[in-house]
């Protein structure tokens, strides 16, 4: 009951509560566990490095791969620098348009990370709010939201994403297509993934709302959203965090898969999947560097995300320890 009085008096009690929880988590198991897991440290460092180089891509990459005027066909198909015929500054060689592979990978990673991250955020935002609403209010609201979820879950993830992406691309005029390519993908990946969060939160909300303190809070007219935000949400943060991390890896994979299938990022703003798709055509032409380097980078990113997610799940689930 102390919680409620606090809530009604303070203007913004959410942050301290959350922060306190996180700090407590760090002090206890999590931080210790992280430090004692070399693979988690390695993955975190790797991911940080990839993220940093991706953010700094415009500064550090030798070429702007999106600037058509900067591409020089004469510089096409240069092998990596350590191979015969390699040329400075094309460290990892160039593709068939004279695009520097290293720059393309840095920019491509940026796209992959942004799409992955944004789609998780969008799915989280939608999933958490709908889940809270469904669980807290119940009744027909719950029914409508959860039936929507059922429908989405009755179609395979990758199929929904392909359909949304392909349909949006087919329907849009060319001018908008380039600009909206990334948002479409974010949307396409977020749509099928919000349900998982919504279900988790809903279950927790249904339990909590029956508890006395929530009933009491209702009686003294604490606003619904405050109860949801301050009591129900923090209770299910742990599984949500793990799911979000693992979904981040999955989202990056999905983006790459869509782009590989040709319904993702266009060739003039290539993501890693697009680069692999293009490179795949030259698999037998001796131009292995066009496909291998982007593939390695993609695998490294997803691997590091998954290692962190895996560690997080184990660390937060005491049963497995």
């Amino acid at each position: 009951m102390a919680d409620i009085s606090q809530m009604t008096q303070e203007t913004d009690p959410a942050k301290p509560t959350l922060r306190a929880r996180l700090e407590a988590m760090q002090e206890s198991d999590l931080w210790y566990s992280f430090r004692s897991h070399p693979s988690a440290i390695f993955a975190a460092c790797l991911l940080a490095l990839v993220a940093l180089t991706a953010i700094l891509a415009p500064v550090i990459s030798p070429q702007d791969p999106y600037d058509l005027a900067a591409l020089e066909l004469w510089n096409a198909e240069i092998p990596p620098i350590w191979e015969e015929g390699g040329q400075w500054p094309y460290l990892l060689g160039t593709d068939t348009q004279g695009r520097d592979i290293l720059s393309a990978i840095l920019y491509g990673s940026r796209i992959s990370l942004v799409i992955g991250f944004a789609s998780v955020i969008v799915a989280l935002a939608v999933g958490l709010s709908l889940g809270l609403i469904a669980g807290y209010f119940g009744g027909w609201v719950d029914n409508v939201i959860m039936r929507m979820g059922d429908v989405l879950l009755s179609m395979p993830f990758i199929l929904i994403a392909i359909l949304i992406s392909a349909m949006a691309t087919a329907a849009l005029p060319t001018g908008l297509k380039d600009v909206l390519a990334a948002p479409i993908l974010i949307f396409a990946i977020a749509v099928p993934s919000w349900v998982q969060y919504a279900r988790t939160v809903r279950a927790s909300a249904m339990v909590e709302r029956k508890k006395e303190y929530v009933q009491a809070a209702r009686l003294i007219r604490v606003k619904a959203w405050r109860i949801m935000l301050h009591h129900i949400l923090p209770n299910c943060l742990t599984p949500i965090m793990v799911a979000a991390t693992l979904n981040f890896g999955l989202a990056i994979l999905s983006e790459a898969t869509l782009s590989f299938l040709g319904v993702g990022m266009p060739p003039d703003q290539p993501s890693l999947g697009t680069l692999i798709r293009i490179g795949n055509q030259y698999l037998f032409s001796g131009l292995w560097w066009i496909v291998v380097f982007p593939a390695v980078q993609l695998c490294l990113i997803v691997l590091s995300v998954n290692m962190i997610g895996d560690w997080l799940r184990d660390a937060l689930n005491p049963k497995l320890r």
């Binding site: 693979s39 959860m146 039936r147 979820g149 059922d150 429908v151 879950l153 009755s154 179609m155 395979p156 993830f157 990758i158 199929l159 392909i162 359909l163 392909a166 349909m167 087919a170 329907a171 099928p192 349900v195 998982q196 279900r199 890896g249 999955l250 994979l253 790459a256 898969t257 590989f260 299938l261 040709g262 319904v263 999947g273 692999i276 795949n280 698999l283 037998f284 496909v291 593939a295 993609l298 695998c299 997803v302 691997l303 995300v305 998954n306 290692m307 895996d310 049963k319 497995l320």
Partner: protein
């Protein structure tokens, strides 16, 4: 139980109607069907006639009802591209996908279960750690990258296995199988491996987690105390307790495997439904896309319903719950 069953089937029917609405929306509103069908010389009058004949001027509800009625009878119209009955096209391709998914599922169980047991039983050993790391690598490798690498290694460099197609097939009635000929079996190896990579790691991780829990139960402790050999405890007593979730997962994942087969089928040019779908996407062949969506969703919903009903039958407590469709989704 009857009430539960009715509720569960009503729910499944509702989901299918919603999927049909989605498929219909795609069918009707993306890419004008008339523009897709007529050739370049067609006049405005031809187009108007065709529009009328296809019933595109009717109201939304009328058209949707017609779509659902026809879909329920397996009539999805004619492919814009192949000018063939869509259901015939998909029916011809179904065996290829089914065999691929079947073999991939078997592979995932045959490889995944032992690996899961090993990593759980010897969980501090170096091998278990390596396997555990390997399983993370397994889920992190995009299946198209796995496919490309397999082709590079086993087809191009070593020349051991074919890189594309189904090899020679034999028709048994309407079912064409590649399992009865040597070339058909050889052609199946790489695609099935590539498709099952993800599933193997999934099974392995699930078995590991379940085993770890089971190993802590009194039941196993008693068995040990009774002097049953460790090997027997692990591989018989403990494993038996883990199998139910594995079977559930496998059942639920079949829908996902069918969907994910489209990536594998693209890489290996495997003539299944997925390749048909991807080609339909490329050519905006909307009747095929709509039919594929409906079919895969139907398989998905059917499997989920079966799993739910089985569980409810086994465990009556679940019957009055607000059980919902769906489940593990990747």
């Amino acid at each position: 139980m009857t009430a539960f069953l009715i509720k569960r089937f009503a729910n499944a029917a509702f989901v299918m109607l919603a999927v049909a609405l989605l498929a219909f929306t795609i069918f009707r509103f993306f890419g004008d069907p008339v523009e897709m069908m007529v050739n370049e010389q067609a006049t405005q009058e031809d187009r108007a006639q065709l529009r009328e004949r296809l019933g595109l001027n009717d109201g939304f509800v009328t058209q949707y009802t017609r779509f659902v009625t026809k879909a329920a009878q397996g009539d999805f119209g004619i492919s814009y591209r192949n000018q063939q009955d869509v259901m015939v096209l998909i029916g011809e391709r179904f065996p290829a996908t089914f065999e691929l998914v079947l073999v991939a599922t078997i592979l995932s169980l045959v490889i995944g279960i032992p690996l899961g047991v090993i990593t759980a039983v010897y969980r501090e050993s170096r091998m278990a750690n390596a396997l555990q790391l390997g399983s993370i690598v397994g889920v992190s490798l995009p299946s198209f990258v796995v496919g490309i690498m397999l082709i590079l290694a086993f087809s191009v460099s070593l020349g051991w296995l074919p890189a594309f197609g189904r090899g020679q097939t034999v028709d048994i009635g309407w079912w064409s199988t590649g399992l009865l000929t040597p070339s058909g079996r050889a052609a199946l190896v790489l695609p099935a491996l590539s498709l099952s990579t993800f599933q193997i790691t999934l099974v392995m991780r699930l078995v590991r987690a379940e085993m770890l829990e089971t190993l802590r139960t009194d039941y196993v402790k008693f068995a040990r105390a009774r002097g049953v050999p460790a090997r027997r405890v692990h591989w018989v007593h403990a494993l038996r307790n883990c199998l139910m979730p594995v079977i559930t997962l496998t059942g639920m994942q079949i829908g996902n495997l069918i969907a994910f087969a489209l990536v594998t089928e693209t890489v290996f040019q495997w003539p299944g439904m997925g390749l048909l779908f991807i080609q339909a996407v490329t050519f905006v062949d909307i009747p095929v896309m709509a039919a594929y969506l409906m079919l895969v969703s139907f398989i998905f919903v059917a499997l989920n319903t079966i799993v739910d009903v089985t569980y409810a039958w086994v465990d009556p407590r679940l019957r009055d719950d607000t059980a919902t469709a769906g489940g593990a989704n990747g």
